[in-house]
């Protein structure tokens, strides 16, 4: 076993040692298949929510998921990006046209059904979203090195099953380099987010998920917010340890949400978007003391 792989295996052992006792109520007998709906998945969203409030980490406000141009942006944008990589000189809109013409090869049934129902106006709205995404990511590496970028397929996840538990650690990366022929430990990952506010958390979770999935840790993780810029993190023990600690909190929150007793609340600005704010006295008290400001300003009335 090489040094890299040994280090990767060591992180798997550490994660198992941390998560196992926390999630003993998610134990499954060896060899038994867990139904899809019974699996707990700890992704970067779950980790973020648990970092805010352990009690209501599963309580997002908002409506059920629907396909839309914004929700399809990443999936279609990744396919457009692959076109730009594979055919130097191609423009994003032409790449988009080609993806749409070959959509059954690229996407799952649900997205294909939605795309089939779009008229020219809907395709225009989607093209604007997807091409904007692809152009933003294309700036990650110089054009001459674009051919060396491995682009995630829609639905690709970094996912590691915690041994003996109905539990998955799930991460995502939008692209990685080099594309092929490299050891996993030489890889650099790119994760695209909406804002850089929690870039270190995102980078740490992606690095940890990659390390657990491949048993080998990547070299760097770049977090890109197209509107804002990007920041890169070297993957070291410090980054992975912090990520593992946050993962433990997320596991604790998930177990409490499923089996009880309730985890402690920690009120904060997130209470304003919590789907269970009405049933949380601590959150209500926090919000009552703080008038809603708009970019620092209080409205007239």
């Amino acid at each position: 076993m090489t040094g890299d792989l040994a280090a990767g295996a060591e992180w798997r052992a550490r994660a198992t040692a941390l998560l196992g006792p926390i999630t003993d109520r998610l134990a499954v007998p060896a060899g038994r298949k867990v139904p899809y709906g019974d699996l707990v998945r700890l992704d970067d969203h779950a980790v973020r929510r648990a970092g805010e409030c352990l009690a209501f980490s599963d309580a997002d406000a908002g409506e059920d998921y629907v396909e839309s141009a914004a929700n399809a942006r990443r999936r279609v944008g990744l396919a457009v990006l692959a076109g730009l990589r594979d055919r130097p000189g191609l423009d994003p809109v032409t790449a988009f046209d080609e993806v749409m013409a070959d959509r059954a090869r690229w996407f799952g049934d649900r997205l294909v059904d939605w795309l089939d129902g779009l008229g020219p106006g809907g395709r225009g709205a989607l093209a604007a979203e997807a091409c904007g995404y692809a152009v933003a990511v294309a700036g990650w590496v110089p054009p001459a090195r674009m051919g060396d970028v491995r682009i995630s397929r829609p639905g690709d996840w970094l996912e590691w099953a915690v041994p003996g538990r109905a539990l998955r650690v799930r991460g995502r990366c939008d692209a990685m380099t080099p594309r092929r022929g490299a050891r996993p430990a030489d890889r650099r990952l790119l994760v695209v987010v909406g804002a850089l506010e929690r870039a270190e958390m995102v980078a740490g979770h992606a690095a940890l998920a990659y390390t657990l999935t491949t048993a080998s840790r990547p070299q760097r993780v770049t977090v890109l917010a197209p509107a804002e810029g990007r920041t890169a993190f070297a993957v070291d023990d410090h980054l992975l340890l912090d990520a593992l600690e946050r993962l433990g909190a997320a596991a604790q929150a998930a177990v409490a949400a499923r089996f009880g007793p309730p985890a402690p609340t920690s009120p904060g600005p997130w209470c304003n978007r919590c789907g269970r704010a009405e049933e949380c006295p601590a959150g209500a008290e926090w919000s009552a003391d703080r008038p809603v400001r708009f970019g620092g300003l209080l409205p007239l009335r």
């Binding site: 629907v66 914004a70 604007a128 152009v135 197209p226 620092g296």
Partner: protein, 345 residues
């Protein structure tokens, strides 16, 4: 330190007749059209004074430092302070009006016109419009899901006259795009609704803008042009918005666009502004003036009232005597954005 005054702003305006009834548009001055602007930007003839990267870096560093000093005067519990384009304009026009507009996100006829104008531009710039403009718009709104719902909801409750006016506007926009713009060269890598956010002072201040249309620039090797789309008619006061785009773009990417321009959909008018160091410095001064007001108001200072030409659209008008007097024609006042004396010459 760079302290040069803003470059003189030439008064450029496309002369276009938009025949609303039959949606036929005749361009009589091809010089100031989107394709002419892009063509001249591409061959370099429309870039008289390239921005020196070193001087730009110096200017942006100064602006960042000034912002940090200003934000330090704000109470910690009011941060992060946010300055999107509209708030800069509002604060410089009238502080009380700016506060009255906070949280006012109700959909109305004007917002609906703006939204569908953006959608038509996005479709034109990517896959192209069809002759059935109404179907294109409804299809696009449906594809936006929750983001399109407010306009669809407004349409559902609009009177026949309001709806007809909206669709007439859509026809005019589509005709202007077809005849005024023509097909956009895909090699320019057109992008629509590109958001730009600049976080300053350790996260205590967030500047932002949404570029309606961007062509060229990084990662292409073409000149970088940012186009602001407005649903109304051309006006010289749109230049102040363009200043903000030039500044935010430069802060976001560390380089300046070659041009920023406003295209007005109702008359196919174009107000282009070549970006020079002076342009960006004027934008920086204007931004700092708005930030100074933002910091003062966040700290609890009473909002000042400045009657101006936009009072007629202010939600606070009924309770504002100076505004009512301005609307009645008793008091002269500047256009929104001119109050700091930095926006237009």
């Amino acid at each position: 330190m760079i302290r040069a005054a803003a470059e003189p702003l030439p008064s450029l305006r496309g002369t276009v007749t938009a025949a609303r009834d039959n949606a036929v548009v005749t361009t009589t001055a091809a010089r100031f059209t989107v394709p002419a602007l892009l063509g001249e930007a591409l061959d370099g003839s429309a870039r008289p004074c390239p921005v020196d990267p070193g001087e730009l870096a110096e200017l942006l560093a100064w602006f960042r430092a000034e912002c940090e000093a200003a934000v330090a005067r704000s109470p910690a519990d009011t941060r992060p302070l946010r300055l999107p384009k509209g708030r800069v304009t509002d604060l410089l026009a009238c502080e009380r009006g700016a506060l009255a507009r906070l949280g006012d996100d109700a959909m109305g006829a004007a917002r609906a016109r703006g939204r569908i104008t953006d959608l038509l531009v996005a479709q034109h710039a990517t896959i192209g419009l069809t002759p059935d403009v109404r179907a294109d718009v409804l299809d696009a709104l449906g594809a936006l899901g929750p983001d399109g719902a407010p306009v669809l909801g407004w349409l559902a409750g609009a009177s026949e006259e309001e709806a007809a006016e909206l669709w007439r506007h859509a026809e005019v926009v589509a005709a202007c795009l077809a005849e005024g713009w023509g097909a956009l060269d895909r090699a320019w890598w057109p992008r629509c609704q590109e958001r730009a956010t600049v976080v300053l002072a350790g996260g205590a201040l967030v500047l932002s803008a949404t570029f309606d249309l961007v062509v060229g620039g990084p990662p292409t090797d073409r000149p970088w042009v940012v186009v602001e789309v407005k649903s109304g008619q051309v006006s010289d006061r749109h230049r102040t918005d363009l200043l903000w785009y030039a500044l935010v773009a430069a802060l976001r990417h560390g380089r300046a666009p070659a041009w920023v321009a406003t295209w007005t959909a109702a008359d196919d008018g174009l107000v282009p502004l070549p970006v020079t160091l002076g342009t960006i410095e004027a934008a920086a001064h204007r931004g700092l003036a708005a930030l100074d007001r933002l910091v003062g108001l966040a700290a609890g200072r009473a909002a000042g009232v400045t009657p101006h030409a936009g009072c007629g659209w202010c939600p606070e008008l009924d309770r504002c005597e100076p505004g009512l007097a301005r609307v009645a024609g008793l008091v002269d006042g500047p256009w929104p954005g001119d109050a700091a004396g930095l926006g237009e010459s």
